[in-house]
Symmetry: C2
Subunit: 320 residues, 2 copies
């Protein structure tokens, strides 16, 4: 299948809603900024064999690519406006595969918002490689930073933690886990918390999404805010599958807390914040507090420190 055909037939239809994309028929796209709005930009890449498995469904690979980027916009409180895609399809990608990939990204564009405005399709002699730049908007000056947490703030997380990492541990290291299908789904199809992120504007003092692992990403908030944090591991929200896995294999605690790929939000709220209003959008759990000092401490129900050997994934870093 010719690369011009791929673009014209599969991707140009995704560009219709943004006139400045010119149907992907120009050298570049043009965006006229919306008055009173800032643009928020993020760029994450995913590589076959590193960030996705070669046998993952192409729809899911496309969806994950878009969603890991939308998750960054969510953490900043931005609304998706546009995105650009660079795709090097893997060797096994025939026309049907590429069509399924395009179908997956089309469905997610419709679900979450944002319009394809450009990109590049290239050949590669190596594994599949996809890079996406997501562009969001929010009212000028309202972006939620990693910096800004205050001592005494609540450490909050959305959704449940550890599902995707348990799937990877099962798949790569044979870890015994419960309900593989659910964990696999959480690995393949993260949920960008866009509505929650927009509701956090003006409320959260700091926020980021959890891609490298809860401990590592909470560590980023601490570092940027010049604080430490303490979390009680028993309060970390787990899915039934993760809870059953942990009950049967207590050593999986580390995988859950440090494994990554959650794409949930971790954020700082004042102790008197209205949690119920946020929880009406997406489940939110208080798991600890920010405190003076540095680094993230994990304690058990008795208040004793829990030692972790590993504190985070280092595969996909940068401004991610």
């Amino acid at each position: 299948m010719d690369e011009f055909d791929i673009i014209a037939r599969l991707f140009a239809p995704l560009a219709q809603a943004e006139p400045g994309a010119f149907g992907l028929g120009d050298d570049a796209a043009v965006l006229t900024p919306t008055a009173g709005m800032d643009l928020v930009l993020t760029k994450d890449a995913i590589v076959e064999g590193i960030h996705f498995f070669a046998d993952d469904p192409p729809e899911a690979i496309a969806a994950k690519l878009l969603r890991v980027n939308l998750s960054d916009l969510a953490a900043k409180g931005a609304r998706p406006r546009a995105y650009m895609l660079a795709a090097a399809f893997p060797a096994q990608a025939d026309e049907a595969w590429v069509t399924r990939f395009a179908t997956g990204i089309a469905a997610d564009q419709k679900r979450f918002g944002g319009t394809l405005i450009g990109g590049d399709t290239v050949s590669t002699p190596g594994p599949g490689f996809f890079s996406l730049t997501a562009i969001g908007e929010l009212p000028t000056g309202t972006m939620i930073r990693r910096k800004g947490a205050r001592a005494g703030d609540l450490v909050c997380v959305s959704g449940t933690i550890g599902d995707a990492a348990l799937y990877v541990a099962h798949r790569l290291a044979g870890a015994a886990v419960a309900d593989v299908a659910l964990l696999e789904d959480r690995y393949r199809l993260p949920q960008p918390r866009l509505a929650l992120g927009q509701a956090l504007k003006g409320k959260a003092h700091a926020c980021c999404d959890i891609s490298d692992g809860l401990i590592a990403d909470l560590g980023h908030l601490c570092e940027q805010s010049a604080l430490g944090a303490v979390i009680e591991w028993a309060r970390v929200p787990l899915s039934a599958a993760a809870q059953a896995s942990l009950d049967a294999g207590p050593a999986l605690l580390e995988t859950i807390l440090a494994g990554g790929d959650d794409y949930e939000l971790v954020f700082a709220l004042a102790p008197d914040a209205d949690l119920a209003a946020l929880a009406a959008i997406t489940p939110v759990t208080v798991i600890g507090r920010f405190e003076a000092g540095q680094g993230v401490r994990v304690i058990d129900a008795g208040g004793h420190d829990v030692a972790l050997r590993r504190t985070g994934w280092r595969h996909g870093v940068g401004a991610s």
Copy 2:
């Protein structure tokens, strides 16, 4: 070398000029648009073994990555403001290699403008892969399109054509060429014609950069403008090295006209346009005219059609 270290030590210093990059320390960057300006966005990727050779100097690989994107901004008349980088360094890239890569992109950022505002550093089991999103600005509504050429307009090109393609033909197919060092330099270090592109705003009726080959990219202007074009091959500007190569091997004409990787501009000007003012910025040559019809015809000095088997490279397509 740890990926966090790479970012902190080599790339964060490149982000200093844009406060919204937060020293690459947040999930995303924020840009407050300049009043009265549109943003122009482009994204091109380069792959080891496809778009660059594994033994190319890392400084040159970085420079080429930035320049092929800046060339798109140049063609649209935009001024570089910012860029985002996704990097999967190749297996042979040790700390010295990555440092040289960062040095190369730093030098070009200084030379051409634009600030690094974010990105992603990932592992890959395959060849080196780099994707860059370049963001430019221009006064609202002034972007030069591929569409807009008029019948009777002059077909103009900047610089010289075919040098990079001759180097590739020499390197991959053993073509006999003159002055390999000059051709290699043209392949490795394209010159984004930013000053010319900005001067073309309000003058050129249509413009794009030449990445896929003169014939193919002029064909894009024709297609988008619903016109044809005729060019006289003897008027196509050649470097001394390309001219000597062609004199010795007339079959190289096709490589020159269709080979690509020129990163010169091809554009449409009214017959009475002030060419001297443009040529004072960058050499500009009239090589033909737009005409009713479709497709690109090449004629010799006697006005006879020249048949070409190949009309363009199809490696790096899309909104490129």
